[in-house]
């Protein structure tokens, strides 16, 4: 037994919590030779426990979806002052102080939420499918509606029985789609201007996000098939869903009311 306080029976018999005895045994040498760690070292680690406060941290996808999400939130009664947004701060709070918004790249939203750094997030279904993040998706917000499609040059052969070369920003979605159809594919991962790939002869077809289809048409491509629809989703961290149940439920309810209102109008 190295130390009195580490004795499990001792821990067991005392009324104090393990935490107390932990502090004793780690900080205090039993012979009193060691110094008690100064409490100022506490500041060396982040002292705020994001999950214990009542403010919900919400990660929003930067770019177009950010504006649509903020508009929707505004209709749901969550006001963010234009001044705060213009400040380009990393995190902005809403006027009522119930939410803290952080703006990150779309692909990073599920990352922040899965780690619990953000309790909630707003992100496209395309990003969620690609990330395979383990997050809850309680609400389809219906914003930034678009499709994930397979597109090929006009007049391309309908079937390739050898290896199909697919250029995409969505390697997982593309692999899953062709895999389910038993089509052998080589996925060529690109990070932008995917529609150029067939034009330049890098790929036979592409898997990409399409809103109006104009970019495709401009490059002589047409939609061969729609893999799935994508809209902005509310995502929630699994632990936050339980530990901040009231606040999360309030946000879901407020957003559900405004999204269903939009649907019934349409």
């Amino acid at each position: 037994m190295k130390s009195e306080n580490l004795n499990p029976n001792n821990v067991n018999s005392r009324n104090e919590s393990l935490m107390d005895s932990m502090n004793d045994s780690v900080v205090d040498g039993e012979d009193g030779l060691s110094e008690r760690a100064s409490s100022s070292t506490r500041a060396a680690r982040p002292s705020s426990f994001h999950n214990t406060s009542h403010v919900l941290t919400v990660a929003l996808s930067k770019g177009r979806m950010q504006d649509e999400a903020l508009t929707l939130l505004g209709r749901a009664g969550v006001e963010v002052s234009g001044e705060a947004l213009a400040s380009r701060r990393l995190a902005v709070e809403d006027v009522a102080g119930c939410y803290r918004f952080v703006f990150v790249k779309p692909a990073d939203v599920p990352v922040y939420v899965e780690h619990g750094i953000a309790d909630c997030g707003v992100v496209g279904r395309d990003v969620l499918l690609e990330s395979e993040a383990d997050v809850l998706q309680p609400l389809d917000l219906g914003i930034s509606r678009c499709r994930i499609v397979v597109a090929a040059p006009d007049g391309a052969a309908a079937h390739v029985y050898g290896m199909l070369h697919v250029a995409t920003k969505y390697p997982r979605i593309a692999a899953a789609h062709f895999g389910a159809r038993g089509v052998p594919v080589e996925i060529i991962q690109l990070s932008g201007s995917v529609e150029l790939a067939p034009v330049l002869g890098l790929a036979d077809c592409i898997v990409d996000l399409v809103e109006t289809g104009r970019t495709l048409a401009d490059n002589g491509l047409r939609v061969v098939e729609t893999i799935t629809e994508s809209t902005g989703r509310l995502v929630v961290n699994r632990a936050s869903y339980q530990l901040k149940a009231v606040a999360v439920a309030r946000l879901i309810k407020a957003l559900r009311e405004v999204t269903t209102a939009v649907e019934s109008k349409a």
Partner: protein, 374 residues
Amino acid sequence: MNSLSEIPGGMRYYFGAEARLQRLIEDGCMAVFDGWSYEEIATPLLDYYALFERGMGHQEAQRAFRFTDADGRLLALRPDVTSSVARAAATLFAGRTRPLRFCYAASVFRQRSRSHAEWRRESRQAGCELVGAGGRAADIETLLIAVEVLERLGLRSETRITLNNVEVFNGLSEKLALDTGAREEMRRIIDTRDDSALQEFIRHHTEQTAPGGEWGLARLAGQREVIDEARRLIFNSRSRAALDALDELWGVIEQLELTDLFEIDLGDVSGLDYYTGLVFKVYVAGAGSRVGSGGRYDDLTVNFGRREPAVGFVLELDALTEVLMRRATMEPAQTHPSGAPIVEPDGDAAGLFREARQRRAANSRVRIKQRDEG
């Protein structure tokens, strides 16, 4: 950089205060288990893959690190402890009086894609298993053990334990006459709380819209009112029996005045192929994912030739260490408080170590000052 300096992904060191804290938490868990008369069991680190495949189901067992034995049979680094405990209960301990109470603290090894949060391939678990006891009292016993551990860690006010009974889902799935694929689809939808997808799914699988229209996944989580809500929507006898069981369990929790720790979450439908009744998950503020899980697995031991009820849970020691480390009053890298140095008096090595042994006999911490020490 030398490739020898690399550490495989998902593996790590524990050192100093963090290592001591993890050991303390582990010892604390084992002390609580001991207090409830659970006997420690150590299971083989390496075992036949077939054991885990039967024990955990194909899907989960696939994540194990696999090797071949000298005779060509497939081995695995244990991805879970329960399978091995269940086998021992049905074989080695077949002649023992029931119930059996086992506990353990052990590392388990699982492959997982790197994209996930808290990516670990080795994780340390403390767990207990109550084999050969069915019914509510056994369920409550394990829940209270988990509660006691969390209380002793000083985490009571920040803990939420969600309760569900997998038979609620199984009853629904049976009522809708779902095939395996559709069942998994519904499970996934409920698991991610995808409300609109569930409405769609139920509309698609039922003729009448009446029950589907009212389903709101947000209503699946909460306290006792969730059961009443569910009773208004679910009529098949299998699900109803499970709801009754949850209701009775909640009644006891109320009488024990522990409702602040618990929540009913009918949306917790992970691990359906493994559990047969009560399931629970443990969440603690400061940890982004769950720190523990458990439930009833009455069908597991039948794989090893003896059907008997069983219930148990595991706590994730890495996650608990991380949470508690963050609120402790020391730096993670702080080294062990060292004892008073003993210096060798004029080349008298024996004298040096005589003093060291005397101090150790008095249980004082010593530190031998080595010659090349500054």
